[in-house]
Amino acid sequence: MDISQGFITFLRSLLLTMVPFVLAAQGTMLAGRTGVFIVAQEGIMLTSASVGFIVSYKTGSLFYGMLAALLVGGIYGVLIAYMTTTLKMNQFVIGLSFYFVGVGLSTLIPKLVIGVTLTPPLIPTLQDVPIPALRQIPIIGDIFFNHNILVYLSILISMLLYYFLYKTSWGLEMRSVGENPKAADSLGINVSLQRYIAVIIGCMLIGLAGVYLPMVYTGTFTEQMTRGRGWLSSALAFFGGWRPLPIFLGSLFFAGIEVLSYRVQVQSVGIPYQFLLMLPYVATILVMMLTFKRSTTPAFLGKNYDREKRTL
């Protein structure tokens, strides 16, 4: 009984922990499908977490905090899309720059708005929303149907993205932009517009992933609280072959490792937790080595498109 209870708790915390991975990686994937490789996730998540937290703290509403996080993500999206798609600047340089900007802003803003306090300012964490009826099912109800709203949302978004990309003509057009923008352009598809849309929505999802941390885990903002989850979302996108459903499964796997690493820390069972924290990256490298031959990475990932550029 004790063991099964522990298992239920483990699965429950798996779903709880996967959310930032799912949101950030799906956002990365969506933008990547049009050829824009976002690498500033860590910075975007931190700024969104910081601003989202402050807005919630000041207004007393977690909902406004989420909106603020989406807005911050959206602003990053507009800037990244403008610089890569319109100005055609190097995507990685831009991404890294925004990472540093994001880290800086995330600590600067609380200092300006709240100042230095002795006790950290706190917000209430997101409440669980049990789903009526389903919640009553034994075990299953405990594991799946008593979570905060963002857990449900991240599952829903994964499914929607799959449906959108593979089952609608708009999804087909979006995918074509990342595979061969010149072909897409020659068929009258607006490459820039597609990239703007995907990057903005993608960054908004990343922003939501960021604000999840203060709203669910800590109730406050702390420096560098993302702890590499943003970087992991790039790895996760490759891990899942830039496809929504495998990325979702990969998020569960990455979340599992995170949950285990906490347990190991608490119970000190001999495996250094640093080793566990390294595992997602090792797993990503292994997956990429194994799937190297039939990589499903968008062919134009990371490359800007210039219609009039002549290739001799």
Binding site: E179, N180, S186, L187, G188, R310
Partner: protein, 519 residues
């Protein structure tokens, strides 16, 4: 064939500039209804640029476009498609991982846009196939199709959008002669169905056999527009090359030049390949059981549709790619232990196919580019130090001999135009070409006609001096013109070797599509 008389499209005084290069200089073009209009010219003449302007891929700097008498502005391919203009690009714009039907419907509104069930569209495509007698399976994956079929997909893409005007950019590149015939048939069917076609090509014979009218461009300017029946080949040749070239001495245009050569084979074998296999890291067999001999003074050609192992063949010979089985001998010595710089000293030189990608340093000087690879050898280098005075001296001579347009050896290579960069590459290869074997992969790709002719002269001169060449080319005419013997590659295999007296286009075409011939 009857062609309509009313003009449906006019392009007037079109200008387009790329940095320092005036690609189009007040060009005029006129298309009549239901005609096949040949747009003829050498490389760099501006044919493709002009049509890219019409298709909205490039914005013209000045000039006007009229469709059925009404002025139109084409700002993007989307506009072009709306005006009923379609274009089949030389390098197909397809998404290899998508099936044919998705490639075709992409960017159009489909019936089941919320399920992406494309059966209805596939049905429409099948109807089009029937109407224009084209054969394509709508659900095949594009990257598994042969070149000829991929081109049909491109044509279907335009037809599906209901275009009235179809532009084809060098559509016969990479097609076997049989596929070319089939394409010409399709063009005639399309004209009968009411389409008007612009046919971009640098091949005279093609415009003469299929076009109704011909517009000739050179250096971004109009030369002439004439009715095919009124045109003579000689006149078109003069128009294409201009006054600077002596046509009577050209290898391309005067039949005699390549025929008067002694074609008998020497006994000495320079290169010997015995059952050579090459397997890629991914486990794909790139070369299968290749056996061939290149004799002294021989030009040995390799024909085949691009991507059938030609690149790998060249690379194993020059030692950049390891072989998995078999043996390669140079003058009887096994070369398997040699690396490419040893082979260079053995007198093997390589002109890579993608010269801009693999062979050229944009930020370095012209002189630097000209001696790259030979820089370790005398007289350029002694005990590891480069003798720059000697390098500059030689570079100046090469610039003159190869007619490279540059301010001098110290000029940065990136300042040169595409054609002149090609000349630098050609000059380097020939100036240091080894006395044993030159491996030349598509050496005339991207060259204008006089430069092309220059390369042909150089190749034949090597032959007269008793040096050998392995010529890998996509241009069948080039191979037929120059080679003593010809091997045809298909999927990494040598499907047959023909002697010059056995050269026959259609036979070679059959071999290019995989039909074996007893060696």
């Amino acid at each position: 064939m009857t062609s309509g008389h009313e003009v449906i499209l006019q392009m007037q005084e079109i200008c387009k500039r790329f940095d320092t290069l005036q690609a189009l200089d007040h060009v005029n073009f006129e298309l009549r209804a239901r005609e096949i209009h040949g747009l003829l010219g050498g490389n760099g003449a501006g044919k493709t640029t002009l049509m890219n302007v019409l298709y909205g891929l490039y914005r013209e700097d000045s000039g006007e476009i009229f469709l059925k008498g009404k002025k139109i502005a084409v700002n993007s391919p989307k506009d072009a498609i709306r005006y009923g203009i379609g274009m089949v690009h030389q390098h197909f714009l397809q998404i290899g991982s998508f099936p044919v039907v998705q490639n075709i419907v992409l960017g159009t509104s489909v019936k089941n846009r919320f399920t992406l069930n494309l059966d209805y569209e596939a049905g429409k495509i099948k109807e089009l196939c029937q109407r224009f007698s084209i054969e394509v399976d709508p659900f095949a994956n594009v990257n598994e199709l042969p070149m000829g079929t991929r081109q049909k997909v491109e044509i279907l893409k335009a037809l599906y959008r209901g275009v009235d005007i179809l532009i084809l950019d060098e559509p016969t590149t990479n097609l076997t002669p049989q596929e070319v015939d089939a394409l010409f048939q399709t063009l005639k069917v399309m004209v009968n169905e009411g389409l008007s076609i612009v046919f971009i090509t640098h091949k005279l014979r093609e415009v003469m056999s299929v076009c109704d009218r011909i517009t000739l461009l050179r250096n971004g300017q109009n030369v002439t527009t004439i009715d095919r029946r009124a045109a003579t080949e000689e006149e078109l040749v003069r128009g294409m090359v201009g006054e600077t070239m002596d046509v009577s001495k050209s290898v391309i245009f005067s039949k005699g030049a390549s025929e008067q050569i002694n074609r008998s084979l020497s006994e000495r074998v320079v290169l010997e390949m015995e059952k050579v296999h090459c397997v890629s890291e991914q486990g794909i067999e790139l070369l299968k059981n290749i056996t061939l001999r290149v004799h002294e003074g021989e030009i040995f050609g390799i024909a085949g549709v691009a991507g059938n192992g030609q690149l790998e063949l060249a690379e194993v010979i020059v030692g950049i790619r390891p072989i998995s089985a078999g043996e390669i001998k140079v003058y009887g010595k096994s070369s398997s232990q040699m690396i490419s710089s040893d082979l260079l000293r053995e007198g093997i030189t390589y002109i890579p196919e993608d010269r801009l990608e693999d062979g050229y340093l944009p930020k370095a000087t012209v002189a630097h580019n000209l001696i790259l690879g030979a820089h370790r050898q005398e007289p350029y280098s002694k005990k590891g130090f480069i003798n720059w005075r000697k390098v500059y001296e030689v570079s100046k001579e090469l610039i003159k001999e190869y007619n490279i347009k540059t301010s001098g050896p110290a000029d940065t290579a990136a300042n040169l135009s595409g054609g002149n960069i090609q000349r630098v590459m050609i000059a380097r290869a020939f100036a240091h070409a080894g006395d044993s074997l030159l491996v030349a992969h598509n050496p005339t790709r991207g060259l204008d006609i006089p430069s092309m002719d220059f390369v042909y002269h150089k190749l034949l001169e090597r032959k007269r001096q008793g040096y050998s060449t392995l010529l890998l080319s996509e241009d069948l005419d080039e191979l037929l013109l120059l080679c003593d013997r010809l091997g045809v590659m298909y999927r990494g295999e040598l499907v047959g070797i023909l002697n010059r007296d056995q050269f026959e286009k259609y036979e070679i075409g059959r071999m290019m599509s995989g039909v074996k011939r007893n060696l």
